[in-house]
Protein backbone atom coordinates (compact mmCIF):
# COMPACT_ATOMS: atom_id res chain seq x y z
CA UNK A 1 0.00 0.00 0.00
CA UNK A 2 2.77 2.36 0.99
CA UNK A 3 4.68 1.62 -2.18
CA UNK A 4 1.66 2.39 -4.40
CA UNK A 5 1.26 5.76 -2.69
CA UNK A 6 4.89 6.64 -3.35
CA UNK A 7 4.54 5.55 -6.95
CA UNK A 8 1.52 7.82 -7.30
CA UNK A 9 3.45 10.79 -5.93
CA UNK A 10 6.39 10.34 -8.24
CA UNK A 11 4.07 9.87 -11.23
CA UNK A 12 2.34 13.16 -10.37
CA UNK A 13 5.63 14.98 -10.16
CA UNK A 14 6.77 13.55 -13.48
CA UNK A 15 3.60 14.70 -15.19
CA UNK A 16 3.98 18.21 -13.79
CA UNK A 17 7.58 18.42 -15.00
CA UNK A 18 6.81 17.11 -18.47
CA UNK A 19 3.98 19.59 -18.87
CA UNK A 20 6.33 22.50 -18.22
CA UNK A 21 9.05 20.97 -20.35
CA UNK A 22 6.62 20.26 -23.15
CA UNK A 23 5.40 23.87 -23.05
CA UNK A 24 8.86 25.29 -23.60
CA UNK A 25 9.64 22.92 -26.45
CA UNK A 26 6.27 23.56 -28.01
CA UNK A 27 6.78 27.34 -28.04
CA UNK A 28 10.27 26.90 -29.47
CA UNK A 29 9.01 24.78 -32.37
CA UNK A 30 6.17 27.22 -32.99
CA UNK A 31 8.62 30.11 -33.13
CA UNK A 32 10.87 28.30 -35.61
CA UNK A 33 7.99 27.42 -37.92
CA UNK A 34 6.70 31.01 -37.87
CA UNK A 35 10.17 32.24 -38.70
CA UNK A 36 10.44 29.87 -41.64
CA UNK A 37 7.01 30.90 -42.85
CA UNK A 38 7.90 34.59 -42.78
CA UNK A 39 11.23 33.96 -44.47
CA UNK A 40 9.60 32.08 -47.32
CA UNK A 41 7.06 34.87 -47.79
CA UNK A 42 9.81 37.45 -48.07
CA UNK A 43 11.29 35.68 -51.04
CA UNK A 44 7.93 35.16 -52.71
CA UNK A 45 7.16 38.84 -52.33
CA UNK A 46 9.41 39.84 -55.21
CA UNK A 47 7.33 39.44 -58.40
CA UNK A 48 8.93 39.83 -61.74
CA UNK A 49 7.19 42.55 -63.67
CA UNK A 50 5.04 41.45 -66.57
CA UNK A 51 4.50 37.80 -65.91
CA UNK A 52 1.81 35.83 -67.68
CA UNK A 53 0.47 32.41 -66.76
CA UNK A 54 -0.49 30.08 -69.60
CA UNK A 55 -2.60 27.00 -68.87
CA UNK A 56 -2.15 24.60 -71.78
CA UNK A 57 -3.14 21.03 -72.63
CA UNK A 58 -0.29 18.75 -71.71
CA UNK A 59 0.16 17.57 -75.31
CA UNK A 60 1.43 21.10 -75.96
CA UNK A 61 4.18 20.80 -73.36
CA UNK A 62 7.27 20.65 -75.52
CA UNK A 63 6.09 22.97 -78.30
CA UNK A 64 4.75 25.70 -76.04
CA UNK A 65 7.93 25.70 -73.97
CA UNK A 66 9.82 26.60 -77.12
CA UNK A 67 7.28 29.22 -78.12
CA UNK A 68 7.51 30.63 -74.64
CA UNK A 69 11.30 31.06 -75.00
CA UNK A 70 10.77 32.84 -78.28
CA UNK A 71 8.18 35.13 -76.69
CA UNK A 72 10.47 36.08 -73.85
CA UNK A 73 13.26 36.89 -76.34
CA UNK A 74 10.89 39.04 -78.31
CA UNK A 75 9.64 40.91 -75.26
CA UNK A 76 12.52 41.24 -72.85
CA UNK A 77 11.47 41.70 -69.24
CA UNK A 78 8.49 39.41 -69.59
CA UNK A 79 8.10 35.99 -68.04
CA UNK A 80 5.88 33.17 -69.26
CA UNK A 81 4.85 30.64 -66.65
CA UNK A 82 3.27 27.42 -67.96
CA UNK A 83 0.68 25.24 -66.29
CA UNK A 84 0.29 21.95 -68.19
CA UNK A 85 -2.38 19.39 -67.52
CA UNK A 86 -5.47 17.65 -68.79
CA UNK A 87 -7.70 20.18 -70.54
CA UNK A 88 -10.66 19.29 -68.34
CA UNK A 89 -8.68 19.83 -65.11
CA UNK A 90 -7.38 23.16 -66.43
CA UNK A 91 -10.86 24.33 -67.36
CA UNK A 92 -12.14 23.49 -63.86
CA UNK A 93 -9.28 25.46 -62.36
CA UNK A 94 -10.11 28.54 -64.43
CA UNK A 95 -13.77 28.23 -63.56
CA UNK A 96 -12.80 28.14 -59.89
CA UNK A 97 -10.95 31.42 -60.28
CA UNK A 98 -7.35 30.34 -60.87
CA UNK A 99 -5.21 33.37 -61.82
CA UNK A 100 -4.57 32.29 -65.43
CA UNK A 101 -3.98 34.70 -68.33
CA UNK A 102 -4.09 32.43 -71.37
CA UNK A 103 -5.79 29.07 -71.92
CA UNK A 104 -5.05 26.57 -74.69
CA UNK A 105 -7.01 23.30 -74.78
CA UNK A 106 -6.93 20.17 -76.93
CA UNK A 107 -10.62 20.31 -77.75
CA UNK A 108 -13.32 22.87 -78.44
CA UNK A 109 -15.44 21.50 -75.60
CA UNK A 110 -13.23 22.76 -72.81
CA UNK A 111 -12.92 26.23 -74.35
CA UNK A 112 -16.68 26.21 -74.88
CA UNK A 113 -17.17 25.49 -71.19
CA UNK A 114 -15.06 28.54 -70.34
CA UNK A 115 -16.73 30.72 -72.92
CA UNK A 116 -20.17 29.77 -71.64
CA UNK A 117 -19.16 31.10 -68.27
CA UNK A 118 -18.14 34.36 -69.94
CA UNK A 119 -14.52 33.99 -68.96
CA UNK A 120 -12.88 34.71 -72.31
CA UNK A 121 -11.75 38.21 -73.30
CA UNK A 122 -13.54 39.62 -76.32
CA UNK A 123 -12.33 38.44 -79.71
CA UNK A 124 -9.35 36.62 -78.28
CA UNK A 125 -10.37 33.05 -79.12
CA UNK A 126 -8.50 31.49 -82.04
CA UNK A 127 -7.89 27.96 -83.34
CA UNK A 128 -4.15 27.51 -83.75
CA UNK A 129 -3.37 23.85 -84.48
CA UNK A 130 -4.67 20.41 -85.30
CA UNK A 131 -3.46 16.99 -84.33
CA UNK A 132 -3.89 13.37 -85.22
CA UNK A 133 -4.63 10.34 -83.05
CA UNK A 134 -2.39 7.29 -83.29
CA UNK A 135 -2.45 3.75 -81.98
CA UNK A 136 0.84 2.98 -80.25
CA UNK A 137 2.47 0.04 -78.53
CA UNK A 138 5.59 -0.31 -76.36
CA UNK A 139 8.74 -0.34 -78.52
CA UNK A 140 9.83 -3.71 -77.13
CA UNK A 141 6.44 -5.35 -77.40
CA UNK A 142 6.39 -8.61 -79.33
CA UNK A 143 2.63 -8.88 -79.48
CA UNK A 144 1.42 -8.81 -83.11
CA UNK A 145 -0.57 -5.58 -83.42
CA UNK A 146 -1.07 -4.15 -86.91
CA UNK A 147 -4.50 -2.56 -87.01
CA UNK A 148 -6.93 -1.19 -84.52
CA UNK A 149 -9.04 -4.33 -84.85
CA UNK A 150 -6.14 -6.34 -83.45
CA UNK A 151 -6.97 -4.77 -80.10
CA UNK A 152 -9.53 -7.55 -79.72
CA UNK A 153 -6.78 -10.15 -79.65
CA UNK A 154 -6.42 -12.11 -76.44
CA UNK A 155 -2.74 -11.23 -76.26
CA UNK A 156 -3.67 -7.58 -75.78
CA UNK A 157 -4.59 -7.46 -72.12
CA UNK A 158 -4.46 -3.76 -71.27
CA UNK A 159 -5.10 -0.66 -73.38
CA UNK A 160 -4.67 2.90 -72.14
CA UNK A 161 -6.61 5.98 -73.21
CA UNK A 162 -7.19 9.30 -71.52
CA UNK A 163 -10.16 9.44 -69.14
CA UNK A 164 -13.03 10.35 -71.49
CA UNK A 165 -14.67 12.31 -68.70
CA UNK A 166 -11.92 14.85 -68.40
CA UNK A 167 -9.30 14.31 -71.11
CA UNK A 168 -9.91 15.34 -74.74
CA UNK A 169 -7.59 12.61 -76.04
CA UNK A 170 -9.76 10.15 -74.15
CA UNK A 171 -12.90 11.44 -75.80
CA UNK A 172 -11.32 11.18 -79.24
CA UNK A 173 -10.19 7.66 -78.41
CA UNK A 174 -13.67 6.62 -77.32
CA UNK A 175 -15.14 8.09 -80.47
CA UNK A 176 -12.68 6.17 -82.60
CA UNK A 177 -13.26 2.90 -80.76
CA UNK A 178 -16.99 3.27 -81.12
CA UNK A 179 -16.54 4.12 -84.75
CA UNK A 180 -14.78 0.79 -85.30
CA UNK A 181 -17.39 -1.02 -83.14
CA UNK A 182 -14.71 -2.00 -80.72
CA UNK A 183 -15.85 -0.05 -77.66
CA UNK A 184 -18.02 -2.76 -76.12
CA UNK A 185 -15.67 -5.65 -76.83
CA UNK A 186 -12.47 -4.09 -75.52
CA UNK A 187 -14.00 -2.01 -72.76
CA UNK A 188 -12.77 -4.43 -70.07
CA UNK A 189 -9.19 -3.94 -71.13
CA UNK A 190 -9.26 -0.17 -70.81
CA UNK A 191 -7.10 1.72 -68.35
CA UNK A 192 -7.76 5.44 -67.97
CA UNK A 193 -5.04 8.02 -67.58
CA UNK A 194 -5.52 11.48 -66.09
CA UNK A 195 -3.95 13.18 -69.08
CA UNK A 196 -2.57 12.13 -72.45
CA UNK A 197 1.08 12.26 -71.36
CA UNK A 198 0.34 9.83 -68.56
CA UNK A 199 -1.23 7.54 -71.15
CA UNK A 200 1.91 7.88 -73.21
CA UNK A 201 4.01 7.08 -70.14
CA UNK A 202 2.10 3.87 -69.44
CA UNK A 203 2.87 2.68 -72.96
CA UNK A 204 6.50 3.77 -72.76
CA UNK A 205 6.93 1.92 -69.45
CA UNK A 206 5.37 -1.22 -70.88
CA UNK A 207 2.68 -1.19 -68.19
CA UNK A 208 0.08 -1.67 -70.92
CA UNK A 209 0.06 -3.43 -74.28
CA UNK A 210 -1.31 -0.58 -76.37
CA UNK A 211 -2.61 2.98 -76.20
CA UNK A 212 -4.26 5.79 -78.09
CA UNK A 213 -2.45 9.11 -77.96
CA UNK A 214 -1.76 12.10 -80.21
CA UNK A 215 0.73 11.68 -83.01
CA UNK A 216 2.72 14.57 -81.56
CA UNK A 217 3.06 12.68 -78.25
CA UNK A 218 4.36 9.57 -79.99
CA UNK A 219 7.03 11.76 -81.57
CA UNK A 220 8.24 12.98 -78.18
CA UNK A 221 9.00 9.47 -76.97
CA UNK A 222 9.66 7.87 -80.30
CA UNK A 223 12.31 5.59 -78.88
CA UNK A 224 10.00 4.02 -76.31
CA UNK A 225 6.75 3.76 -78.24
CA UNK A 226 6.05 2.49 -81.74
CA UNK A 227 3.23 3.84 -83.85
CA UNK A 228 1.04 1.03 -85.17
CA UNK A 229 -1.33 3.14 -87.22
CA UNK A 230 -2.77 6.63 -87.53
CA UNK A 231 -6.49 6.74 -86.97
CA UNK A 232 -8.44 7.96 -89.99
CA UNK A 233 -9.84 11.44 -89.54
CA UNK A 234 -13.43 10.36 -89.94
CA UNK A 235 -13.19 8.01 -86.95
CA UNK A 236 -13.23 10.85 -84.45
CA UNK A 237 -14.07 14.51 -84.05
CA UNK A 238 -11.40 16.75 -85.54
CA UNK A 239 -8.68 17.45 -83.01
CA UNK A 240 -8.59 21.22 -83.01
CA UNK A 241 -6.69 23.29 -80.46
CA UNK A 242 -8.26 26.64 -79.51
CA UNK A 243 -6.49 29.34 -77.51
CA UNK A 244 -7.92 32.36 -75.72
CA UNK A 245 -7.14 35.19 -73.32
CA UNK A 246 -8.92 35.00 -70.00
CA UNK A 247 -11.10 37.96 -69.14
CA UNK A 248 -9.91 40.31 -66.46
CA UNK A 249 -6.26 39.43 -66.75
CA UNK A 250 -3.87 42.08 -65.51
CA UNK A 251 -1.50 41.61 -68.41
CA UNK A 252 -4.01 41.82 -71.24
CA UNK A 253 -1.66 43.25 -73.85
CA UNK A 254 1.07 40.74 -73.28
CA UNK A 255 -1.48 37.93 -73.16
CA UNK A 256 -2.87 38.96 -76.51
CA UNK A 257 0.69 39.24 -77.77
CA UNK A 258 1.31 35.66 -76.76
CA UNK A 259 -1.78 34.46 -78.59
CA UNK A 260 -0.70 36.45 -81.63
CA UNK A 261 2.71 34.79 -81.58
CA UNK A 262 1.14 31.35 -81.45
CA UNK A 263 -1.00 31.96 -84.54
CA UNK A 264 1.73 33.89 -86.38
CA UNK A 265 3.83 32.20 -89.11
CA UNK A 266 6.71 32.04 -86.66
CA UNK A 267 4.61 30.21 -84.09
CA UNK A 268 3.10 27.97 -86.70
CA UNK A 269 6.53 26.97 -87.90
CA UNK A 270 7.45 25.83 -84.41
CA UNK A 271 4.20 23.91 -84.10
CA UNK A 272 4.94 22.23 -87.40
CA UNK A 273 8.33 21.19 -86.19
CA UNK A 274 6.67 19.25 -83.38
CA UNK A 275 4.20 17.53 -85.67
CA UNK A 276 1.17 19.76 -85.28
CA UNK A 277 -0.89 20.54 -88.37
CA UNK A 278 -2.09 24.02 -89.21
CA UNK A 279 -5.63 24.82 -88.12
CA UNK A 280 -8.30 25.57 -90.62
CA UNK A 281 -9.32 29.17 -90.23
CA UNK A 282 -12.33 29.62 -87.93
CA UNK A 283 -15.46 31.20 -89.23
Amino acid sequence: MEIDHRKEESAKMLRRCSRLHGMREFLLVLACLTGLLLASQIRAQSPSAQEITVSAAISLKNVFEEIGKTFMQKYPGTKVVFNFGGSGDLARQIESGAPVDVFASAAQKDMNDIEKKDLIAANSRKDFARNGVVLVKPANSTIPLHTIADLQKKAIKKIVIGNPKTVPAGRYAEQALRHFNLWDTIRDKLVFAENVRQALDYVARDEVDAGLVYSTDAMVRSKEVKVVMKLPEESHQPVVYPIGVIKGTKEESFSRAFVDLVVSPEGQQILNKYGFIAAKPRM
Binding site: D89, T166, R187, D206
Partner: protein, 230 residues
Protein backbone atom coordinates in the same frame (compact mmCIF):
# COMPACT_ATOMS: atom_id res chain seq x y z
CA UNK B 1 -29.69 7.47 -67.19
CA UNK B 2 -26.18 8.45 -68.10
CA UNK B 3 -23.73 5.60 -68.23
CA UNK B 4 -20.09 5.57 -67.23
CA UNK B 5 -17.38 3.67 -69.09
CA UNK B 6 -18.19 0.44 -67.27
CA UNK B 7 -21.77 0.52 -68.40
CA UNK B 8 -23.25 1.34 -65.02
CA UNK B 9 -25.65 4.16 -64.36
CA UNK B 10 -24.96 6.77 -61.71
CA UNK B 11 -26.47 4.99 -58.71
CA UNK B 12 -24.88 1.69 -59.60
CA UNK B 13 -21.47 3.24 -60.08
CA UNK B 14 -21.66 5.09 -56.76
CA UNK B 15 -22.59 1.86 -54.99
CA UNK B 16 -19.81 0.07 -56.80
CA UNK B 17 -17.23 2.62 -55.67
CA UNK B 18 -18.45 2.37 -52.10
CA UNK B 19 -18.39 -1.41 -52.17
CA UNK B 20 -14.94 -1.38 -53.73
CA UNK B 21 -13.59 1.04 -51.12
CA UNK B 22 -14.93 -1.16 -48.32
CA UNK B 23 -13.56 -4.28 -49.96
CA UNK B 24 -10.11 -2.77 -50.42
CA UNK B 25 -10.06 -1.28 -46.91
CA UNK B 26 -11.12 -4.52 -45.23
CA UNK B 27 -8.62 -6.62 -47.18
CA UNK B 28 -5.83 -4.14 -46.48
CA UNK B 29 -6.74 -3.96 -42.78
CA UNK B 30 -6.68 -7.74 -42.38
CA UNK B 31 -3.21 -7.86 -43.93
CA UNK B 32 -2.07 -4.90 -41.86
CA UNK B 33 -3.23 -6.49 -38.60
CA UNK B 34 -1.50 -9.80 -39.33
CA UNK B 35 1.77 -8.37 -40.60
CA UNK B 36 1.70 -5.36 -38.29
CA UNK B 37 1.24 -7.42 -35.12
CA UNK B 38 4.07 -9.73 -36.10
CA UNK B 39 6.39 -6.85 -36.99
CA UNK B 40 5.51 -5.00 -33.79
CA UNK B 41 6.40 -8.04 -31.73
CA UNK B 42 9.77 -8.36 -33.44
CA UNK B 43 10.54 -4.67 -33.06
CA UNK B 44 9.40 -4.57 -29.44
CA UNK B 45 11.08 -7.69 -28.17
CA UNK B 46 14.04 -8.54 -30.34
CA UNK B 47 17.30 -6.84 -31.05
CA UNK B 48 19.37 -7.51 -34.13
CA UNK B 49 21.64 -5.78 -36.58
CA UNK B 50 19.77 -3.42 -38.84
CA UNK B 51 16.81 -3.05 -36.50
CA UNK B 52 17.00 0.76 -36.68
CA UNK B 53 16.98 0.64 -40.47
CA UNK B 54 14.01 -1.71 -40.55
CA UNK B 55 12.16 0.60 -38.19
CA UNK B 56 12.83 3.61 -40.44
CA UNK B 57 11.85 1.75 -43.60
CA UNK B 58 8.57 0.66 -42.06
CA UNK B 59 7.81 4.17 -40.83
CA UNK B 60 8.69 5.96 -44.09
CA UNK B 61 5.25 5.65 -45.73
CA UNK B 62 3.91 7.62 -42.78
CA UNK B 63 6.00 10.68 -43.56
CA UNK B 64 6.40 10.41 -47.32
CA UNK B 65 3.74 11.96 -49.53
CA UNK B 66 1.44 9.27 -50.94
CA UNK B 67 2.69 10.08 -54.42
CA UNK B 68 6.24 9.24 -53.43
CA UNK B 69 5.00 5.98 -51.95
CA UNK B 70 3.11 5.36 -55.19
CA UNK B 71 6.28 6.04 -57.13
CA UNK B 72 8.21 3.45 -55.16
CA UNK B 73 5.39 0.97 -55.60
CA UNK B 74 5.56 1.41 -59.36
CA UNK B 75 9.33 1.00 -59.17
CA UNK B 76 8.92 -2.35 -57.46
CA UNK B 77 5.64 -3.72 -58.72
CA UNK B 78 5.26 -2.17 -62.15
CA UNK B 79 5.34 -4.52 -65.09
CA UNK B 80 8.94 -3.50 -65.58
CA UNK B 81 9.59 -3.11 -61.93
CA UNK B 82 12.15 -4.91 -59.78
CA UNK B 83 9.66 -7.51 -58.59
CA UNK B 84 6.84 -6.96 -61.01
CA UNK B 85 9.01 -7.90 -63.95
CA UNK B 86 9.76 -11.36 -62.55
CA UNK B 87 6.11 -11.81 -61.65
CA UNK B 88 5.01 -10.92 -65.16
CA UNK B 89 7.50 -13.19 -66.80
CA UNK B 90 6.46 -16.13 -64.64
CA UNK B 91 2.73 -15.71 -64.69
CA UNK B 92 1.93 -13.22 -67.42
CA UNK B 93 0.10 -11.23 -64.76
CA UNK B 94 0.77 -7.75 -63.44
CA UNK B 95 -0.70 -6.25 -60.30
CA UNK B 96 -0.90 -2.82 -61.90
CA UNK B 97 -4.41 -1.52 -62.61
CA UNK B 98 -6.09 -4.17 -60.51
CA UNK B 99 -7.87 -3.78 -57.20
CA UNK B 100 -5.08 -5.84 -55.61
CA UNK B 101 -2.82 -2.88 -56.31
CA UNK B 102 -5.23 -0.69 -54.36
CA UNK B 103 -5.01 -3.15 -51.46
CA UNK B 104 -1.23 -3.09 -51.68
CA UNK B 105 -1.11 0.72 -51.68
CA UNK B 106 -3.44 0.93 -48.68
CA UNK B 107 -1.49 -1.78 -46.91
CA UNK B 108 1.83 0.04 -47.29
CA UNK B 109 0.54 3.39 -46.07
CA UNK B 110 -1.46 1.98 -43.16
CA UNK B 111 1.22 -0.42 -41.86
CA UNK B 112 3.26 2.24 -40.02
CA UNK B 113 0.13 3.38 -38.19
CA UNK B 114 -0.58 -0.15 -37.03
CA UNK B 115 2.99 -0.76 -35.96
CA UNK B 116 3.23 2.47 -33.97
CA UNK B 117 0.19 1.75 -31.84
CA UNK B 118 0.71 -1.98 -31.50
CA UNK B 119 4.39 -1.72 -30.67
CA UNK B 120 3.65 0.78 -27.91
CA UNK B 121 0.98 -1.53 -26.53
CA UNK B 122 3.33 -4.53 -26.57
CA UNK B 123 6.14 -2.57 -24.95
CA UNK B 124 3.85 -1.44 -22.16
CA UNK B 125 3.17 -5.00 -21.05
CA UNK B 126 4.73 -5.53 -17.62
CA UNK B 127 8.10 -7.26 -18.13
CA UNK B 128 7.64 -9.28 -14.96
CA UNK B 129 4.55 -10.93 -16.40
CA UNK B 130 6.57 -12.14 -19.35
CA UNK B 131 9.34 -13.42 -17.07
CA UNK B 132 6.81 -15.20 -14.88
CA UNK B 133 5.32 -16.88 -17.92
CA UNK B 134 8.75 -18.22 -18.88
CA UNK B 135 9.40 -19.57 -15.39
CA UNK B 136 6.07 -21.36 -15.56
CA UNK B 137 7.26 -23.33 -18.56
CA UNK B 138 5.88 -21.35 -21.48
CA UNK B 139 8.27 -20.44 -24.26
CA UNK B 140 8.39 -17.25 -26.26
CA UNK B 141 5.63 -18.04 -28.75
CA UNK B 142 3.18 -19.34 -26.15
CA UNK B 143 3.87 -16.32 -23.97
CA UNK B 144 3.15 -14.07 -26.93
CA UNK B 145 -0.26 -15.59 -27.54
CA UNK B 146 -1.29 -16.12 -23.93
CA UNK B 147 0.07 -13.03 -22.22
CA UNK B 148 1.35 -10.32 -24.56
CA UNK B 149 -1.40 -10.42 -27.16
CA UNK B 150 -4.36 -10.34 -24.75
CA UNK B 151 -2.78 -7.49 -22.82
CA UNK B 152 -2.11 -5.49 -26.00
CA UNK B 153 -5.63 -5.88 -27.35
CA UNK B 154 -6.59 -2.23 -26.97
CA UNK B 155 -3.55 -1.06 -28.90
CA UNK B 156 -4.12 -3.59 -31.66
CA UNK B 157 -7.74 -2.61 -32.08
CA UNK B 158 -6.86 1.08 -32.11
CA UNK B 159 -4.26 0.36 -34.78
CA UNK B 160 -6.74 -1.62 -36.84
CA UNK B 161 -9.28 1.19 -36.73
CA UNK B 162 -6.70 3.80 -37.74
CA UNK B 163 -5.49 1.55 -40.54
CA UNK B 164 -9.00 0.98 -41.83
CA UNK B 165 -9.69 4.71 -41.88
CA UNK B 166 -6.41 5.37 -43.67
CA UNK B 167 -7.13 2.62 -46.20
CA UNK B 168 -10.60 3.97 -46.93
CA UNK B 169 -9.17 7.40 -47.65
CA UNK B 170 -6.11 6.34 -49.63
CA UNK B 171 -5.90 8.26 -52.90
CA UNK B 172 -2.48 9.31 -54.16
CA UNK B 173 -0.59 6.03 -54.21
CA UNK B 174 -3.73 4.11 -55.17
CA UNK B 175 -4.27 6.32 -58.21
CA UNK B 176 -0.73 5.70 -59.34
CA UNK B 177 -0.72 1.92 -59.14
CA UNK B 178 -4.34 0.92 -59.48
CA UNK B 179 -5.28 3.67 -61.85
CA UNK B 180 -8.75 5.02 -62.37
CA UNK B 181 -10.72 2.29 -64.10
CA UNK B 182 -14.45 2.65 -63.68
CA UNK B 183 -15.96 -0.59 -62.52
CA UNK B 184 -12.61 -2.01 -61.58
CA UNK B 185 -10.42 0.21 -59.48
CA UNK B 186 -12.20 3.48 -58.91
CA UNK B 187 -12.43 3.55 -55.15
CA UNK B 188 -14.54 6.29 -53.67
CA UNK B 189 -11.85 8.92 -53.20
CA UNK B 190 -10.83 8.45 -56.83
CA UNK B 191 -14.40 8.51 -58.07
CA UNK B 192 -15.07 11.70 -56.15
CA UNK B 193 -11.96 13.26 -57.67
CA UNK B 194 -13.04 12.30 -61.18
CA UNK B 195 -16.55 13.62 -60.69
CA UNK B 196 -15.27 16.90 -59.32
CA UNK B 197 -12.73 17.18 -62.15
CA UNK B 198 -15.40 16.74 -64.78
CA UNK B 199 -17.83 19.09 -63.11
CA UNK B 200 -20.26 16.33 -62.17
CA UNK B 201 -21.06 17.92 -58.83
CA UNK B 202 -24.29 16.10 -58.14
CA UNK B 203 -22.55 12.74 -58.38
CA UNK B 204 -19.68 14.02 -56.29
CA UNK B 205 -22.09 15.27 -53.63
CA UNK B 206 -23.85 11.93 -53.46
CA UNK B 207 -20.60 10.07 -52.98
CA UNK B 208 -19.26 12.48 -50.39
CA UNK B 209 -22.41 12.06 -48.32
CA UNK B 210 -22.30 8.27 -48.59
CA UNK B 211 -18.64 8.15 -47.69
CA UNK B 212 -18.97 10.46 -44.71
CA UNK B 213 -21.88 8.46 -43.29
CA UNK B 214 -20.11 5.13 -43.70
CA UNK B 215 -16.89 6.46 -42.12
CA UNK B 216 -18.78 8.00 -39.22
CA UNK B 217 -20.59 4.71 -38.66
CA UNK B 218 -17.29 2.82 -38.50
CA UNK B 219 -15.84 5.35 -36.06
CA UNK B 220 -18.88 4.94 -33.86
CA UNK B 221 -18.52 1.16 -33.83
CA UNK B 222 -14.81 1.45 -33.12
CA UNK B 223 -15.41 3.77 -30.17
CA UNK B 224 -18.00 1.43 -28.74
CA UNK B 225 -15.62 -1.50 -29.08
CA UNK B 226 -12.76 0.24 -27.31
CA UNK B 227 -14.98 1.47 -24.47
CA UNK B 228 -16.52 -1.87 -23.73
CA UNK B 229 -13.12 -3.08 -22.71
CA UNK B 230 -13.27 -5.47 -25.59
Amino acid sequence: MEEDASGRNMDESVLFSLRLSLQVAIAATVLVVLVGTGMSFILARKSFRGKEILDILLTLPLVLPPTVTGYYLILFMGRNGLLGNALFRWTGWSIMFTWYAAVLASFIVALPLMIKTTRAAIESVDQNLIKVSYTLGHGELKTFFKVILPLSKKGIIAGAVLSFARAMGEFGATLMVAGNIPGKTNTMPIAIYTSASSGDWSKANMMVVFFTLVSAAFLYIANKLSKKGF
